[in-house]
Symmetry: C2
Amino acid sequence: MPEAPTRLEVEGLQQNLREVQRLIADQAAPGELRARLDALHPADIAYVLEALPLAERLAVWDLVKADRDGEILLEVSDAVRESLIASMDSQELVAATGTLEADQIADLAPDLPEQVVEDVIRALPQEEREQLRAALSYDEGSVGALMDFDQITVREDATLEAATRTLRGLDELPVHTDQFFVVDREQRLTGTLPLARLIVSDLALQVREVMVPAGVTLYPENPAEDAAQAFERYDLVSAPVVDHFGRLMGRLTVNAVVDHIRQKSSQAQLAESGLRAEEDIFAPVLNSFKNRWSWLAINLVTAFIASRVIGAFEGSIEKLVALAALMPIVAGIGGNSGNQTSTMIVRALALGQIQEPYWPKLITKELGVGTLNGVLWGTLLGAVTYLLYGSVALGGVMALAMLLTLLLAAAMGVAIPYARARLGRDPAAGSSVLITACTDSGGFFIFLGLATLFLV
Amino acid sequence: MPEAPTRLEVEGLQQNLREVQRLIADQAAPGELRARLDALHPADIAYVLEALPLAERLAVWDLVKADRDGEILLEVSDAVRESLIASMDSQELVAATGTLEADQIADLAPDLPEQVVEDVIRALPQEEREQLRAALSYDEGSVGALMDFDQITVREDATLEAATRTLRGLDELPVHTDQFFVVDREQRLTGTLPLARLIVSDLALQVREVMVPAGVTLYPENPAEDAAQAFERYDLVSAPVVDHFGRLMGRLTVNAVVDHIRQKSSQAQLAESGLRAEEDIFAPVLNSFKNRWSWLAINLVTAFIASRVIGAFEGSIEKLVALAALMPIVAGIGGNSGNQTSTMIVRALALGQIQEPYWPKLITKELGVGTLNGVLWGTLLGAVTYLLYGSVALGGVMALAMLLTLLLAAAMGVAIPYARARLGRDPAAGSSVLITACTDSGGFFIFLGLATLFLV
């Protein structure tokens, strides 16, 4: 059962934010602000902290009760977490981390000073220390990094009566406990006992008579994305994680899956625009710069190459200056069209839905769409060019260049993700830069080349 | 308790796909293929259907047992659903839809012929008919459109004994039942009874003595996104949906939330690349064209405007043709940098985390990052230009143009999402086109304008 949050807000988050903001501005009432914060759920305090500039953020952070620090650090974005951790000394950090469970400490560990992590590990009881070591040993993006250790286990040979008694002994059930995991003497998972089944069964029965086979069973090495898809497809709330001897290690819950999905989609969105990581909106200029410069540098290189392609045709442009005005249209539409194709291919690849024999079908289709677009927009732009410059030949070159560039874009939109997937790389990463580089340089080359052949 | 899927696959999806593919190719064994399909979970059949070209897809679809059609239609992507529905006659569609519950029918209804929907409504029992009407009346993207009607209610004055008896009467609990909803005589929600609490409590007690206050309570008009955030923040599995008299209408479950999050992130990703909707990778060329042309048309217009800006400076380019080769660099980097800024602002706006008083702080910061980028890349490009063309003045113009364009990009990257949000529009939609339009035309204008002033 979820620990009852003090105040749950669906639409009220921004209201919290405004109130806190007002109380900060008032200054007169630190007591009132502290009381307001105490009444908020850690996730809501995290929300407020993210939305405040550094000075205000740290003022609020100082007022938060120390025993909630750990939970709040877990909830804030990476960038904001960094700013909060920077404001704390080792002792405070050890204290904050000490209130957390092993899987949560593992989430925080990469952001903490090494010394703090070591102190925390030393203070842990043996079992949790091993859990923490295990959790730290798995790659980000694997089930092992997302699992927790809050599973409740029952033995096959226990009676439901005894299982129920154990439950009564617990203060409350861990969040997202929809089933107990049934294990044998060697801690090997043999099935699960859904809560709902426990309720409707005769308490005199043995667990083994009532349990059901575990649906999805995960290994810590499974990619988190596969597990997330299983949770979605089969509507799971929790799933057991076992080692290669079949022994129960921990569990994965739907909330960890939801967090993972959000994080992945957020990373994809950021990467698309060339931000390396989530940015604290109030980050110092230098931090923002570091987060963004590499993308700009890469684009600068590709833009420079395209510029050199143009440079090779300076003679033609000198003779027919209209080319300079028309060439960005060809390259621009090529880039847009190529990215449409690659987005679709990348998504299907991510789902593993493109089978080897169907690649020719896909490329044929994309070349078909490219031809249709090329004929349509090419004709239109050719006509407009003729109207503007009164030259049929220039209009013809424009139309033909458009068609060829869109075919190039379609081919690259399929080929680049395909090649990256074949090489075992993430097909999404960098596809857009590569395609734009091809269509820019390619578009300029095709258009200026045709013009040089036929017009100059 | 989830209905036990016949075979759960974490990494096995692609293996299913290959096997089905092999069985189709064999042709000899429709019986074997049918048996293979019968053993798959509806979500896994949906996965296979999405990955097959049209002819193979329809062949497989014909082999699927008719009573599973409805569930599978719910699972496939919109585009693939369209292709399946097009292959069915009204009678088959009514039969397929008839196996679904009211909230599921509502999800399918927009894709069905009107006549089919009417027939289905007529065949429903009174209560479900009202549920369906209710579900159809809420906007996509609201809680009402995502809720289901599978909640289990108990009366305050019942004993736990009686509540447990009711449960025993049910075949199985609906998926994601972590709590029962407690209502009074007028069906008003007065609290919830978590399953975990039911298990550990004395069965002689009355529900009212054991129940807890409902944490989050939703209205059907709440934006789904707000509800999703509440599920994430407070780790919910289900939440009650009530009308404005406090009467229980239905519930929202975490699986509906997960679907919503995936769909939103997928739409954002598609929109970013100018695809109007999820595309069937084997769609006919014409369907793909329809999905993509409008984005290309918009970009064509903005590219054309940029082209006219260049056209205005043809005289300068004629005299100094190096300008033609250099100008795309300035415009390109401006576009990239502007999109970095706006991505960050749009994300913070979507979370409601930018408070009115902090806008000046944000714009100052972004202009700071722009200045830093401008000085750095401007100096670098200025130097390269000098080396290439041997003209200090041209290098200086390049450097200055770069700085000014990056400042323009920073200003637009903040101003465009801000303006859209102030006008009550979605700040994300179209921001990238607008910014690229500004930085393209602006970048050309700044660079060619400076060159005309100082060089020609």
